[in-house]
Each structure stands twice: as C-alpha cells, then as structure tokens.
Symmetry: C2
Subunit: 239 residues, 2 copies
DNA sequence: CGTCCTATTGAACAGATTCAATTACCGTGG
DNA sequence: CCACGGTAATTGAATCTGTTCAATAGGACG
C-alpha cells in the first residue's frame, strides 16, 4: 500500500521501537513521537494466523499500525462466498473507517503484531491539524485508484492475466525496498489468492503450474516464487 | 454517488442557474456563490452522446460539475477490453484526481451539460479552507467503499446477482429523490451495463429476459424498467 | 417504407468451477 | 531417524456458467 521507512524518534519502551518499519504516510505531518500521543493502554497486540483483528460490523474505535506479519481484508456474502479486498504488510495503517463500524474484516495470515491507537484521540488530533486531512485524503484517493485497477482485473482479465498482475504487484512492492529483487514471498494461501483474484484455489494452482512450465517463474516452495522472466510476465498481465 | 439539493444563491447568468440540481457535497463548506469563484471562462460545456469529457492520461486541470445527462467512467486494456468503473448523474463532481492526469476516461451517455471550474483555483481555495480537505476525504472514502462493494460483485457474484444488485442500486438512488418510486431509467446501453458488471451484452440481455419471465421486472422500453418485486430482487441480489 | 443501430435469441464453444483423488509438506511422536 | 497424521497444494475429469458467433427482431428516424 505505502512505502515504509525507518523510525528514529520513538520512546525506547514503545512496542514498535524494536521494529524497523514505520508508516511513512503521516511523516510530513506526524512524526513518531506525535503518534505516541494516541497510544492505547496495552497498545501492543499479537495475533495468531487465522485470528481476526476485527470483523465487518465491529465498532471502529481503534486504529492499528501493522508492525509485523500480514493481514487479509475481506468481505463475505451471506452464503459464505468471500472476496478478499486486499493484503496488508508491515507499515500499513488500518481502521481509518469514515463510518463508526468496519466495512470489512481483517485477519492475520501469519503471526501478526500491531500497535493500537485511540481512534477518538486521533480524530481529535486531526481536528486540530488540518494538514492531516490532506494526508488522509491522499491515502483514500490512492486506495481508490488501486481498487479501480482491481475492478479492471476482476471484471475483464483472464485467470492467467490476474495471477500475472498479482505477482507483478508483489514484485513491484518488493523492489521498492530492494531494487532488482526477483524473489516474492507469498504468506497467503492459494485460497486467499483465489479469493483476491476472483478465482478458485484450483485455478490459481493450475496457473502457477502453467507459469512454471512456460519458464516465467520457479516455485522454491509454496510461498516462495522466483520471477524468471519479468518482461514476459508483464506481457501476460496485460493481455 | 451523492445526494443533490436545490441551489438558491447562484448569479442569474450562471450556466447552472437554470438547473435544479446542485452538488451537496461541499454545502457545509462551500455555497454556490463561493463555487462561483472557480468558474472557468466559457464555463459551460455540452457533450453529445458518446463524446468524451476527457480521456485516461489527459491532464486533470479542470474539474467538472455534471448538471445534466449522465456519464460513464471507464478504463481500457491494451486490447480494447473495457471496464466501466461507474456511472455519474446530475450533481456529481468529477476531475478531482490527486494525480495531475486522469486515471480513467469519461464519456457522455446522453446529451450532457457540465460546468467547468479551474482546478488550480479550486486547489488554492482548498489550501485556504482546511475543512474542504475533510470533505474531499469523506467523498474519497465513500467512493472507496462503493468500489469495494463492486469488487465483491465482480469477484464473487453470478450474472443474475450482478444485474439484480445493479438495478437495486439504481432504484435506491431513485428513491432518495422520490421515495417509493419503482421505475428505473437506464440511460446506458446493454453494453455499458455489461462492461460495468463484468459480463457481455448478450448475458445482460438474457438476464433481463429471465427477470421479466420470473415477474421481477417489466421492461416498458429498452431504457425503462419497472420493478415489480423489489423484495425478491433483493433475494436474487444477495445469493 | 427502408435503413441503421441496438437488443434479443439461439447454438456451439471455452474458460473456469466442481468434485474427487493424489501428492507434497511439516510437525509430532515413536 | 523414520513413520504417522493433518493440512495445503496439485492434478484429473466432468460439468456449468457465461462467452462467442450468428441470426432475428424491434425501434427510431429520415
């Protein structure tokens, strides 16, 4: 979602003080010591894989900074069909719903650590710091652009194109941290990927196999993908 | 997208002065006479059906208030596949891209009238009126929520569910203006609907026929749908 | 009344799903 | 160290939903 940066000015006892990632989103407005003001009591949270951080419909009175692990965000249909709307990685903020309840659920994919902040105190801060509004707007507008790209993927792309696009997005994210990287880690299951791409886990698996066969990727393990031919993958991604 | 309201304080020579709809979005901050400050020279625009207001990639230096008619917003894949990301109706604002170029194209569906405003003057105004930022954020967050609902539709719903959901959305919009209404006008073609719902025009047509056959709707004409059984339509929409 | 465009309908087809079976992997305990 | 059990991933075959391509019908307009 957004690039991250090292933080330098957190109190030593801060739960995030040991982790090297830090949300850059608010950096222009909010440094880490400012952020500190909104910390909740018992501000650190740990989640085992599969555990929910919150569910759709839960009151959105806390905001989170994901400091370790990864999350899936999803919506459910009444009969249980699931659409994963996104994956979050360390550095991401979540819980910034406009409504007072969450519009989707958030679950840990791997062991997760989050920092909790008081929503009401954060809101009050925003009231007093108008430039924060601009930051929030920027974030929402960025997410909106991403969501619309995903509309194109879900509405018009084939299974091959979907998975290729997905892998390239992850690769691009990797390369923001580590230029030239070609190894993608997939903490999420095939089912998660399928529910993100509007496919079934079987189809995702078959497309992985097809990409292996055609020399686009190599699977080092279920969750480690080596991108062998990035250019060709981009061709596949865009039809 | 957003409810509209009458305007009372526009100059008599304003191109929007004759139309009864007005964007309510900025009402808490911006009244119509304020908005007036951002008007461009030759601020009224008219568009014939099928004509573009702007294309993906065009510089986003003007913002528009749609005062008459309707627009489709869409993105294209290199090979011409199209995903319609939304339809806009009178009262809608558009052109508020964060980037300096548009991320999608906008075309008239019916004869359209827009009011043009200077983007740079508007931006300057926003700089001076922090509460505008909040308004912009609210809008973006709302659109984001809608886009995510559409992700569920495209990723996980069947053709029947998609069309039922679409008709209900339009009906709900109608009923905000006119409670109890059961007649939907469809200014867009079957192809537009198909490209919005991730289907083909043939499938859309077939589902319309199926809905007619099962007594859910009646087609008064190609672009007039009478909803006969709203409750049952809702059942279809949610699986 | 004829033309043009859109919508509808039909029939064959295709891509993805479903259901079922097999394989691979990982941690546990003998 | 290896056998075992459980979970996730892969593969196969049949099926199905929606697409594609083609033909027909319907409406608006000159």
């Amino acid at each position: 979602m957004l690039t991250v940066t090292r933080h330098e000015n957190l109190p030593a006892d801060h739960p995030c003080a040991g982790c090297e990632i830090r949300m850059r989103t608010f950096c222009s407005v909010l440094d880490a010591s400012e952020l500190e003001k909104f910390r909740c009591q018992g501000s650190t949270g740990r989640l085992d894989p599969g555990r929910p951080l919150f569910h759709q419909g839960d009151p959105a009175d806390v905001i989170f900074n994901l400091t370790k692990g990864s999350l899936r965000l999803y919506k459910l249909l009444p009969d249980g069909r699931r659409q994963v709307t996104g994956f979050l990685f360390p550095g991401a903020f979540l819980g910034l719903a406009v409504r007072d309840v969450h519009a989707f659920s958030a679950e840990a994919i791997e062991p997760v650590e989050v920092c909790r902040y008081s929503r009401s105190r954060f809101d009050a801060f925003v009231d007093e710091h108008p430039r924060m509004e601009r930051e929030l707007y920027r974030i929402a507008a960025h997410e909106l652009a991403l969501a619309r790209e995903q509309l194109v993927l879900l509405g018009r792309k084939t299974a091959n194109e979907r998975l290729a696009t997905f892998l390239l997005t992850l690769l691009k994210r990797m390369r923001e941290h580590e230029p030239g990287a070609d190894l993608i880690r997939l903490p999420m299951s095939r089912l998660d990927i399928a529910d993100y791409l509007g496919l079934t886990k079987e189809t995702v698996s078959r497309v992985f196999t097809a990409f292996k066969t055609t020399g686009l990727i190599r699977l080092l393990s279920d969750d480690q993908v080596l991108v062998l031919d990035c250019a060709k993958l981009e061709c596949v991604a865009n039809g």
